[in-house]
């Protein structure tokens, strides 16, 4: 029965894939708009944003006007009302200009607006979504803690009901957008006895009494996005701020991350594309042994491997998005996309530095920034190891008797 379901999904997914050779017109236009925006507004300032660790506030507001900060949100709530393929294309093009801006867009779309759209009540959607579609405000997602990242079920942050309020205590770690966010979705244990099923999700505005931020992490890459601890000390929120049902937190987190993986895969694709562009352009210009290095097989083979890794990961990402848009199961494909794209990004940016030689090692060229930006994509929203667990488990399920 499970094999029939999977085959059906693949068949339905394949029909949609006929437009992999040419995307639909709306998607092509969207991709072009995002590419133009990235080339004119992001790429010229990306290096400076990285050096100065500056949040790209103006650019995020511009992206809000374009509809990119809330691609899937219906128009009635202030979004663009488009699908996940469109979202993936947008994040890729934005990340190609600036990887930090790419993750800011992705976290707001997939990790903050995503769970609200899927699990929020009508009142919660009306209150917590529209202000976060314009780029004026961004949200964040607080699951990881100093004591557990991959082990999401071991959440030690607690939430206790006290009259009409939930009281949250604990510390969350590695929270992207934390210093720039106006709201967060926090996962806390409401019933330790039932382990995974005792975690719940809460909407908390920022700033808020009882919520404070740790110092901004000094990161290797994506430095224009802020990352910090969120510390909760008797942080009180109304009981209406519970997102989804009591004990649904783990399920919400896992389903949210499934979609988030398509966003991060897209970010990785953008970084990989930027690195490939840099290397190929350099190969035409740099001469050695009397000719452009593009004439050397060693360079051609590298660029070929880079291009294959990128295009394969891109197709996996599009497939995951298409399956999600067709309301088919996409957990395995999303994990495959994130795994392939992140490893492609690190491989491509590593080889791009190699193609550039010494020039790849200095800040005059963007290759070193792509290398630093790419690295995190193998870690956040599920490490490559977790992705392999997810994929392996899904594959085995398909063959179960």
């Amino acid at each position: 029965r499970s094999r029939a379901a999977v085959c059906g999904a693949v068949r339905r997914g394949s029909r949609r894939l006929s437009h992999v050779a040419q995307l639909p017109e709306v998607h092509r236009m969207l991709r072009q708009t995002c590419r133009d925006f990235a080339e004119r507004e992001l790429a010229p300032v990306a290096s400076q944003l990285d050096k100065e660790h500056t949040y790209p506030g103006r650019q995020v507001r511009e992206l809000g006007k374009l509809g990119i900060m809330a691609v899937e949100v219906p128009e009635s709530l202030g979004g663009a009302g488009l699908d996940y393929l469109a979202y993936g294309l947008a994040v890729e093009e934005i990340s190609r200009g600036c990887a930090s801006t790419g993750v800011i867009v992705s976290v707001n779309n997939s990790l903050y607006l995503g769970p609200l759209l899927k699990f929020g009540s009508e009142e919660q959607k009306k209150q917590w979504i529209p202000p976060f579609t314009t780029g004026e405000k961004v949200g964040c997602f607080a699951l990881s803690e100093p004591g557990n990242g991959s082990d999401a079920g071991a959440a030690s942050t607690t939430a206790q009901l006290d009259g009409d309020e939930w009281v949250l205590n604990g510390t969350k770690a590695w929270i992207t957008n934390s210093w720039d966010a106006s709201a967060t979705i926090i996962f806390a244990t409401t019933d330790k006895a039932v382990k995974h099923q005792g975690i719940s999700a809460f909407l908390v505005p920022m700033p808020h009494p009882g919520l404070s931020l740790g110092k901004k992490e000094d990161k290797l890459g994506i430095r224009a996005s802020s990352t910090a601890n969120i510390i909760l000390e008797d942080c009180r929120v109304p009981k209406e701020n519970l997102l989804g049902g009591l004990g649904m937190g783990f399920k919400i987190a896992m389903q949210t991350l499934d979609s988030g993986r398509i966003g991060i895969a897209s970010q990785a694709l953008g970084i990989g594309q930027a690195a490939l562009d840099c290397a190929a352009d350099y190969a035409h210009k740099r001469t050695a042994f009397g000719a452009p290095i593009a004439k050397l097989q060693a360079i051609q083979f590298k660029l070929a491997d880079m291009a294959v890794a990128l295009e394969s990961a891109r197709l996996l990402t599009w497939k995951a998005a298409l399956l999600r848009d067709a309301k088919q199961p996409f957990t395995k494909e999303a994990a495959m996309a994130k795994l392939a794209a992140s490893e492609a990004a690190t491989f491509i940016s590593h080889q791009a530095i190699q193609v550039l030689g010494g020039m790849g090692y200095v800040t005059d060229m963007p290759a070193e920034r792509h290398y630093r930006d790419a690295r995190i994509t193998e870690i956040y929203e599920g490490t490559s190891e977790i992705q392999r667990l997810v994929i392996g488990t899904q594959v085995l399920k398909e063959y179960q008797g």
Partner: protein, 254 residues
């Protein structure tokens, strides 16, 4: 105001692409090369849409002459805010020979057919750099023209145009209907937002053949040959003005 504005949009090779001459020297390589809307046409569309947003004009109609792909350029104009499009279908040899004279004849015919008050064009296209279509269109219609516009202000039945000229800025006041061509500093074109891209899908593009407009596309120009510009040679440094003059004389430049 019931004014209708016609905006011409041309599909050209994207400004960022490295142009290559075809091996047979008959033209440049266009197959598989990225194309987009001429940057000055983007500025023209932006100006028309801004006038509409200020409620000074009623309708913006985007026009493009060319093969099927010209519709992509019209869709971009629609996504920027134009109300509807007209695709004048020209392909094959006719398209290869399509130049400012032919396009101005088409625009003049459309302007009469569509009861137009204002035609806004880019000052020139980045592929041929002709800078002729606006001027020719005005002449064919016997309308006033304000070219190289860096500012456009509607004043009742007149339009004030501030023109960028070699000596500085010149202000002209034209009685509508009139032709305006957009220069670089007229405005900064907007990005097509997602909601507008979606709305553009529902907007109409009418397809028309030049014959239906009574336009003869015969060209009196023939392109003999296209070559790359000569490779830039290294310069040389001189120590004194005297040396400069003697070197220029030696090279036969003085």
């Amino acid at each position: 105001m019931s004014a209708r504005v016609l905006v011409g949009v041309k599909r050209v090779i994207d400004y960022a692409v490295k142009i290559r001459v075809k091996p047979d020297n008959t033209g440049v390589v266009t197959d598989g090369v990225k194309h987009s809307m001429n940057p000055f046409c983007e500025i023209a569309v932006e100006e028309a849409v801004k006038l509409k947003e200020k409620k000074l004009i009623k309708e913006v109609v985007a026009v493009s002459c060319g093969p099927q792909q010209a519709q992509e350029t019209i869709r971009t104009a629609l996504a920027m805010g134009a109300d509807r499009g007209i695709h004048v279908e020209v392909s094959g040899k006719d398209y290869d020979n399509l130049g400012p004279l032919q396009v101005s004849k088409i625009l003049a015919a459309l302007a009469k057919k569509e009861e137009t008050s204002l035609i806004i064009l880019g000052k020139q296209a980045i592929d041929d750099d002709c800078n002729q279509t606006g001027q020719m269109t005005a002449a064919l219609l016997d309308w006033p023209q304000g070219t190289f516009a860096s500012e456009v202000v509607l004043e009742g039945d007149k339009v004030k145009v501030i023109r960028e000229i070699d000596g500085g800025l010149e202000t002209v006041r034209l009685k509508m209907p009139a032709v305006i061509t957009a220069d670089l500093r007229l405005n900064t074109p907007r990005y097509a937002t997602l909601p507008n891209i979606m709305k553009a899908k529902k907007k109409k593009i009418d397809v028309v053949k030049p014959g239906e407009l009574g336009v003869d596309l015969t060209s009196h120009l023939e392109v003999l040959r296209v070559d790359e510009p000569p490779q830039r040679q290294a310069g040389m440094k001189v120590e004194t003005v005297e040396e400069l003059i003697s070197r220029l004389k030696e090279a036969g430049r003085m």
